[in-house]
């Protein structure tokens, strides 16, 4: 029965490829409780995405090692310096069909090419979805395969202002070849997904009581010879009540996040939407609903208008301006600083949250990766992607800036998979990780 609800959520999450399985909502699904507390080390991963490349000045530190500069963009992470690792030199080397924004997005976490298709971008050949699974889903499958690390959802895909259209520019998570996974951008829908069953269970419980009352009343009205039918019926209702109600333990460790009401899905609400999603993300981890999350801000070529930063142009348009246009550079720095603030909010929230039952900070058991589909906006390069890791490290030496040369994304994903305990030899296109996991 457990697989039922899991499958339903999976299919729902599969977004554009979701099969309609209306039949899988069932009372069994309501019985999903939080598993018993699992002592021992937990390993969690968050991949946070922001679009349109990174500014060179104001982001990249000049000094390698522990004494690296945290310039304007990285400033919000200052207090987490010891837990931060900035890497220069990670490159998306996947080629083939599709323009750089498309490949930048759909090949970023998959390390795999795009299928030929009908989506025309720029002057490249039209393309379709990625040919392989993304690293977050790969690690999720590994964790879900093991009883000790299995969680109700495995992964949750959060989005902030991701437009409601499905194409290679809007999808970075893939459950497999040709299976893009749509992020959930509406925090209320995400809440429903995470905690809806608890509410539904309460609803059903509150009703069963009344149903029994109604059956008893009705019994008096029917022929004596027919009462056995209603009596049997009443017994089944009682049994269901028992099955639903005999779980004495709380259904979650920490209370579900209270979301502010009626926040409209619009650019000007982006800061609030971002906070709501991050709060839910941390809340989900605290209740051990999942161990992996992705957090996708807008999309590749995203055109958010960040009026709260007093910027009226769309992000993507600005990213095309030449480096020497100082005004645009300044705006791009402010945009990326805002994104870094979101990262910092997420990491600090994780830091302040205790692992249930321990005094440990949740950040110590989490690795947060912030990246982008492009290295630099106006050149559309897929080389030197901004790569910021924050957290306990899982064996990576944190608290420094390091430069590597021409290392493929696949080799970094391989290193992260190993750090998470998933010892795979290859990920994505084999050619791109033949040298094994990157040594940092």
């Amino acid at each position: 029965m457990k697989t039922n609800i899991y499958r339903r959520e999976f299919l729902r999450g599969a977004g554009s490829f979701a099969l309609a399985f209306p039949g899988l909502s069932s009372w069994c699904g309501l019985n999903w409780a939080i598993p018993d507390f699992q002592p021992g080390e937990k390993k969690r991963l968050v991949v946070m995405f922001s679009p349109n490349g990174m500014v060179r000045d104001g982001f990249w530190p000049k000094t390698e090692g522990p004494d690296f500069e945290m310039d304007q963009v990285l400033k919000p992470l200052e207090s987490l310096r010891e837990k931060t690792l900035v890497i220069h030199g990670i490159c998306n080397k996947v080629r083939g069909d599709g323009d750089n924004h498309m490949r930048g997005m759909s090949c970023l976490l998959t390390g795999n090419e795009l299928f030929p298709g009908n989506i025309q971008g720029g002057s490249h050949k039209p393309a379709g979805w990625a040919k392989g699974i993304s690293i977050d889903q790969e690690i999720k499958n590994f964790l879900q395969a093991n009883e000790a690390t299995r969680t109700r959802f495995g992964t949750l895909e959060f989005g902030v202002r991701v437009p409601n259209k499905a194409d290679p520019w809007t999808r970075m998570v893939y459950a497999g070849p040709n299976q893009p996974v749509a992020p959930i951008t509406d925090p209320y829908r995400m809440y429903e997904k995470m905690y809806g069953n608890v509410k539904d269970r309460e609803n059903l419980m509150s009703v069963l009581n009344l149903v029994r009352e109604d059956i008893e009343l009705s019994g008096a009205r029917v022929d004596v010879r027919d009462r056995h039918l209603l009596e049997a019926h009443g017994e089944y209702i009682g049994q269901m009540e028992q099955e639903l109600g005999n779980k004495e333990k709380p259904t979650y460790f920490v209370a579900p996040t209270e979301l502010p009401k009626n926040v409209r899905d619009a650019d000007e609400n982006m800061p609030e939407l971002s906070k709501m999603q991050i709060d839910l993300l941390v809340n989900g981890f605290a209740n051990d609903l999942n161990r992996i999350s992705t957090l996708q801000f807008t999309q590749s070529v995203g055109q958010s208008k960040m009026k709260w930063l007093e910027i009226n142009e769309g992000h993507h348009t600005l990213s095309h301006d030449p480096d020497k246009k100082q005004e645009s550079q300044d705006k791009l720095r402010r945009i990326n600083t805002w994104y870094c603030e979101q990262l910092a909010y997420l990491c600090k929230k994780l830091e302040q949250t205790k692992e249930p039952g321990t005094n440990q900070s949740m950040l110590d058991n989490t690795l947060v990766v912030w990246t982008n589909e492009l290295g630099h906006g106006n050149s559309h390069t897929l080389d030197n992607l901004p790569m910021v890791l924050v957290g306990g490290g899982f064996g990576f030496e944190m608290g420094r800036f390091t430069k590597v040369k021409n290392v493929t994304t696949s080799r970094l994903w391989l290193a992260i998979a190993h750090a998470m305990g998933h010892q795979i030899d290859s990920f994505g296109l084999a050619d791109l990780c033949s040298e094994g996991p990157v040594k940092l």
């Binding site: 309609a20 009372w27 298709g117 040709n178 609803n203 009703v207 029917v222």
Partner: protein, 698 residues
Amino acid sequence: MLQIQVRVAPLFLVISLLLSCPIHAQEKGAEIYRAQCAACHGNNAEGNPEHFSDPLRGDLALSELEDLIVKTMPDEHPELCIGNDAKLVAAFVYNQFYSPQAQRRLVDSRIELSRLTVRQFRESIVDLLGAFGDEVSVPDSRGLEANYFGSRNWTEKRRLASQTDKSIDFGEGVPHFDPTGKYESLKPDENPKKDANRMNQGFSVFWRGGLIPVETGHHEIIVESKNGFSLHINDQKNLLIDRRVRSDDVVEHRASIFLIGGRPVGLSLYLFSYPRPPAKIRLLWKRPSGIVEVIPKSSLIPVTPPEICICSAVFPADDASDGYERGISVSKQWDRATTDAAIETAEWVSERMWRLAGTRENDKDAAAKLRRFCYQFVDRAFATRLSEDERQFFVDRHLDQELSKKNQLKRIVLLTLKSPRFLYPAIQNRQRSEEIARQLALTIWDSLPDEKLSQLAAQGELVDPKIVERETQRMVRDWRSKQKVKMFFLSWLKSDRAADSAKDKSIFPDFDDQLVADLQTSLVLYLNDVVWTEPSDYRDLFLADYLYVNQRIGEFYGIPVSSEGFSKVRLPLDKRSGIVTHPLLLSGLAYHKESSPIHRGVFIARQLLGANLRQPPDDVKPLTEEFNLKMTTRERVEHQTKETACMSCHKLINPLGFSLENYDAVGRYRTHEKSKPIDVASVYKTQEGNEVEIRWGS
């Protein structure tokens, strides 16, 4: 044609004499029964688990019963009861217990409390919520509305054609896709640059309309196309298949959806090709019975029905031991299924609550309208107008809870659909007029009263027989009753047997799923003709001299067909007449290689003649052809059933089955079997003891 020739009627007199026989004859019969029969059969012929456990009842004529007693009773000492004794005790048993008339007299008749059957439950949910939307009308025309454009999107000025397509079966290319003809000569868009880049490069088709499923259950919808497309079925908001991004040369795309037989759902399919690869597409389904086919014209309509609420919860099968489904028992499984269905419906309602209530979330009277919707919802579910107390119990107390509107609604829906007042139609107290409406809807539609009937019920109008008659006429003409009548016939005729019976591929290579699906269509078209067109004469069920045939059926059964699709073909009377000789029934009532006179005989005896046959002994396996390769099927059956014990039933079954030996395992007409001419000579003995020669055809 079934020709009944009464040859002998001497027993008529005997029966009349016996029925009027003097009291002392009856007493004498009773005395013999008590002395010689009751020990094994029970004092009231109810049976005795240690000897003969079945109650004494059946379909033998009195003379046959007497004959049986003379030859076999009492057990092991048949010589003890012969002659006049046998005659007297036979008459006593026949009149007191055995005959169908006696049985009817003995049964204590009352209407048992029963719950909704699975079908009634599903139909009721659809209509309960359908009542808050647009009315569904099912036109006679078939096919889908199709709009073709020389652009990637719906662009009026680039329209190429509008037409009705009978099905979406364009594996070789869709119509109007002509890059060099009309397509190129279209006027460019006013913005030449945009046009050059985008508009001129695309081609699209929009198909719209409705889908009428044939069966109930999970259907797989299959779209075969390398082009971009998107498909909606029923759910107007979420796509069933989204393939707008073409990726890789995957041709087959599948999605599963639960559909209810006869309930039309909306369907829209948007196909585009961009920049300009050939546009090819096929729309198929895999039905719950396993049949895979291009969704046929008969299941497509050119108007779009409103969205419906379909419960896909898995219910245990209803008790059908009396030949039709009844809700006479409850089980844990059933309780869970109703809960799942209630949860599913609650979810559906809560997602659409503002539209259902005819308002919008932020309107100032939204809360009042939502409350009114809830009252109506419960009223309709229970087919009555709730009292103030009931409103409080089912609606108000939940709306006053500190909960989101969505959860309030969910609780109301859950409570209503779990309530015995909904699940057992007889439980709710109703005005007489309301009760009549409830009964009419249940009987004619397997569902709830519609808006019109509910209003008449509430006004107390249905106590007037004239109005009841008028409403009954109206309801019978509704498409829902056509579906119910169809379901009745298909289950009465056990039409699904053929779909379940695999035939030997080496002997009948062309008897495949597709042929079975076509035969089902053929049967349904024929039944429709008999029931719904003038003169609507039930005798045509047995006497009709035609068959609905399409190319595939025509080829298989050697019937010449000229037109495409199904047409009515008259056949020589000696070949087919009526339902019993329909190839679908004949193949269902047969083995995978050979015909089965026993199955056919039992079918006619039970389903058509209403005979009450006992279950056959468990350990008897039918003799196969290998038993004796020279024997015909008839000879084998006669050989195996010749014992007296077998003959008590088989003397009824065998002749009925033998009369159909002209039809082989797939219902094809034959004149010889194993080089011997087919022997169909057979005699049926009526209840009255008359002997009737059975002959199909002239």
